[in-house]
């Protein structure tokens, strides 16, 4: 079953990634191609572009990604637990409560240190 699904998803992924390129290929046959210096310059609201864009950005974005990663892993652990939950005893609920509580702790810490507010 898993392998049958795998073949389907694999074909889907390949078609999904190929389709945009096919579309762009068709458009390449149809469209005009006359680039010039002004056309291919970087857009910056009509002013001359200064430097390239690959400059430094705020660490704030990184902090949000960081908290996200931790919660994402929590989800990976909790989803199988949720599926099995119907057949498990009270003990399972207790363990999951402790698990969620421990991670809630991390969120509270982030809140208290102002990592969650956008500066």
């Amino acid at each position: 079953m898993a392998l049958a699904n795998f073949q389907f998803i694999l074909i889907l992924a390949l078609v999904g990634i190929a389709l945009p390129f096919i579309g762009v290929g068709v458009a390449w046959l149809l469209r005009p191609k006359k680039p010039n210096k002004l056309k291919t310059s970087t857009y910056e609201c009509g002013v001359e572009t200064y430097g390239d864009a690959w400059s430094q950005f705020k660490a704030q974005y990184y902090l949000f990604a960081l908290i996200f990663v931790i919660f994402d892993i929590e989800a990976v652990f909790l989803f199988p637990w949720a599926v099995a939950y119907g057949g498990l005893g009270f003990y399972a609920l207790l363990q999951a409560l402790i698990f969620i509580f421990l991670l809630f702790d991390g969120l509270v810490y982030a809140w208290k240190t102002d990592a969650l507010s956008w500066q």
């Binding site: 660490a59 990663v69 931790i70």
Partner: protein, 104 residues
């Protein structure tokens, strides 16, 4: 029934491990080294899951181990990259052979 021989999976794991090792040892940039380490962990996970599938197919032990490795890899990446960002902020470089503060 498994059709593909077990050793094929193990060979892929070994290949990925060697590539990751090269990346972790040879690169100067700290982020690139971290990417090499992630490849190493992935290679190990392939072996765990392959052994699970071929030797104890009635259990899920190997998969559970692999999930734990996944979680630890994520924690490692999060802290490691935070360190790299902090070092970059103070030292303005992420090249490991220039970060030698402990050498004094």
């Amino acid at each position: 029934m498994p059709i593909i021989p077990l050793s094929w999976f193990l060979l892929v794991g070994a290949g990925l491990f060697s590539i990751g090792l090269y990346g972790a040892l040879a690169r100067r940039n700290a982020v690139a080294v971290l990417m090499g380490v992630e490849l190493l962990l992935n290679a190990v996970n392939i072996n765990l899951v392959a052994f699970n599938r071929y030797i104890v197919p009635a259990q899920v032990t190997g998969q559970i181990f692999a999930i734990f490795v996944l979680a630890i890899a994520a924690a490692e990446a999060a802290v490691g990259l935070a360190l790299i960002i902090a070092i970059y902020r103070t030292r303005d470089t992420v090249n490991l052979d220039e970060i030698d503060l402990l050498k004094g």
